[in-house]
């Protein structure tokens, strides 16, 4: 490990330790925002692991997240919670592999549309399943898992995602993905099996999103398909990753924190205009900071270095 890596590790450990103290403040408000931030930190960072280098925009996060929620919703009365998390992970990975095999040969806009449609398709299937089973439109998730527990679990998952991302970035696989994002034709002719490289990363990001949904199910106590498979979630993940900068492992988090703080205000003050605000944010980010906050930081750092 280089000196810079040791320093980054130390900084990350301190930040995680500080973040882990939030539930101890006893403030319900900060804990609730903390859970939201931790959720989107995990989702956006894992989304960027795949979409950052490859530039394949996936809107399937909501599909995986919803499946995770429903695994817990359906199984909580029958199986122990850790087993449900494991089932969610396996299901998420299997679905991601299937979707990857079917779609990652598609490029650009076809892939985006397919992933958006996937969440909707699964939501309709769940609805259909529930109505034919004659049950109610939602599921109760009654557990004794407290909000601080959920928060700490999310932080733990976040730490795993960062370690995984760090490892991937310095591996052949990470380099292969950067080449794919630059020029897929060159990638293929350099000997890279582009399909499997993309599928592996899509599986990683899909699995993480599914487990995240499973972790959050106890928080809602009543889950409905319209909440679990919300397309809004998929869009928020993309926006925050782009705001922070999807080309760096530490990019999404610096987008998630400010965005969630502002978003919390927006949803409280203008509950009926959230979609409008979201759209404007999207436009502003894409036009004004195409490489995200991480890109800005790097630009000013390079400029400062050039000045000396």
């Amino acid at each position: 490990m280089t000196g810079a890596e040791v320093r980054n590790f130390a900084v990350a450990i301190v930040l995680f330790a500080l973040a882990a103290l939030i539930p101890l403040t006893g403030s319900g408000y900060w804990l609730s925002i903390g859970v939201s931030i931790a959720t989107y930190m995990v989702l956006s960072t894992s989304w960027a692991l795949f979409s950052g280098p490859t530039h394949y925009i996936s809107l399937a996060t909501g599909a995986f997240y919803g499946i995770g929620m429903y695994v817990v919703g359906l199984g909580i009365e029958i199986l122990p919670y850790p087993v449900l998390l494991l089932i969610a992970a396996v299901l998420g990975a299997a679905l991601a592999a299937l979707v990857g095999l079917a779609t990652l040969r598609l490029s650009g806009v076809y892939f985006v549309i397919f992933t958006l449609g996937l969440a909707e398709l699964i939501r309709q299937l769940v609805n259909w399943g529930q109505t034919t089973q004659g049950s109610s439109s939602g599921l109760y998730v009654l557990t004794d898992i407290s909000e601080p527990m959920i928060y700490w679990q999310l932080l733990g998952l976040g730490a795993i995602v960062y370690l995984l991302g760090w490892w991937i970035n310095r591996s052949r696989l990470g380099f292969a993905l950067r080449i794919i994002g630059n020029d897929e034709v060159v990638a293929v002719h350099s000997g890279i099996n582009t399909a499997s490289a993309k599928i592996i990363l899509f599986v990683v990001s899909g699995t993480v999103a599914t487990v995240t949904g499973a972790l959050l199910a106890p928080r809602l106590s009543y889950i409905e398909s319209s909440i679990a498979f919300s397309p809004m979630l998929s869009f928020l993940v993309v926006i925050m990753a782009l705001l922070g900068g999807a080309h760096r492992l530490w990019g999404p988090i610096i987008g998630v924190v400010p965005f969630m703080l502002v978003w919390d205000l927006v949803t409280a003050k203008f509950p009926n205009q959230t979609t409008l605000v979201l759209g404007i944010c999207f436009l502003l980010i894409v036009y004004a900071i195409p490489h995200g906050l991480a890109g800005l930081v790097e630009k000013y750092r390079a400029r400062a270095r050039g000045a000396f």
């Binding site: 380099f175 293929v188 000997g191």
Partner: protein
């Protein structure tokens, strides 16, 4: 034929819908040989190269690399078997430095380098193509000839058994052309096996041991550069009937 057969193309055809781009092509290249694939525009040379590198799938026929059948394999698998190429329109990895562009050729190709081995080999290749010390340059800041050199270094770092150069000299000015021809000549001196698709006749005369001439997707002549460039059918294909 004395040398070992490096590439054997047998009866290979490729059509796009009703258009026959490559029509029952058969030719062979020996180890350490430089073969020129020439012909008028649209005669199917680049398609032929794409069939060898796996960018396109052939409809019929067979391609053997050092005896092993590579027909119909995916391009990445053919690359691993030791075929490297450059592109007619130079293809860079724009977000990367020159050094990383060369790395890209070495990590997954025929030799699968990594770590120190990769760095040393990449540096040596940059040196060889005349880009020594330029490793940290972003490719967007490089001139056209330097990008072409870089693309060659990327192909060479995998130590390919067969190198395909698709109009690598196109678009260079006369002094750059001299440099380019010398560079390919030095590869020839190393005993590399190379197929060049080229329009520059000077380059073909000075570089190629043998030429295969294509017209309308089919082979119309084969032999030394002097022989094929004097061939009546070749002259007719390039210049029209009344010149032959």
């Amino acid at each position: 034929m004395a040398g070992r057969s490096a590439l054997l193309v047998e009866n290979v055809s490729k059509n796009f819908g009703g258009l026959i781009a490559v029509d029952a092509m058969t030719f062979e290249i020996e180890e350490h040989e430089v073969l020129g694939l020439i012909g008028p525009n649209g005669s199917g040379k680049t398609t032929m190269m794409n069939l060898v590198s796996g960018a396109l799938k052939l409809n019929s026929g067979r391609i053997r690399l050092f005896g092993g059948d590579i027909s119909g394999l995916a391009a990445n698998r053919i690359a691993r078997h030791g075929v490297a190429r450059t592109f007619q329109l130079v293809r860079m990895l724009p977000s990367m430095t020159a050094r990383e562009n060369v790395f890209a050729g070495g990590v997954f190709g025929h030799r699968r380098l990594w770590g120190r081995d990769l760095e040393e080999n990449a540096e040596a290749m940059l040196e060889k193509v005349g880009l020594g010390g330029a490793g940290s340059t972003p490719v967007s800041a490089m001139t056209y000839i330097d990008q072409k050199r870089l693309e060659l270094a990327r192909a060479l770092v995998s130590d390919p058994k067969l190198l395909l150069l698709d109009e690598w000299l196109a678009g260079l000015n006369p002094s750059e052309l001299r440099i380019g021809i010398d560079l390919i000549n030095s590869l020839r001196g190393e005993g590399r096996t190379i197929i060049v698709v080229e329009h520059v006749m000077d380059a073909i005369r000075s570089l190629c041991d043998r030429c295969v001439v294509m017209n309308s997707g089919a082979k119309i002549a084969e032999g030394t550069p002097q022989e094929v460039l004097a061939d009546e059918e070749v002259i007719r294909a390039y210049l029209g009937d009344h010149h032959a």
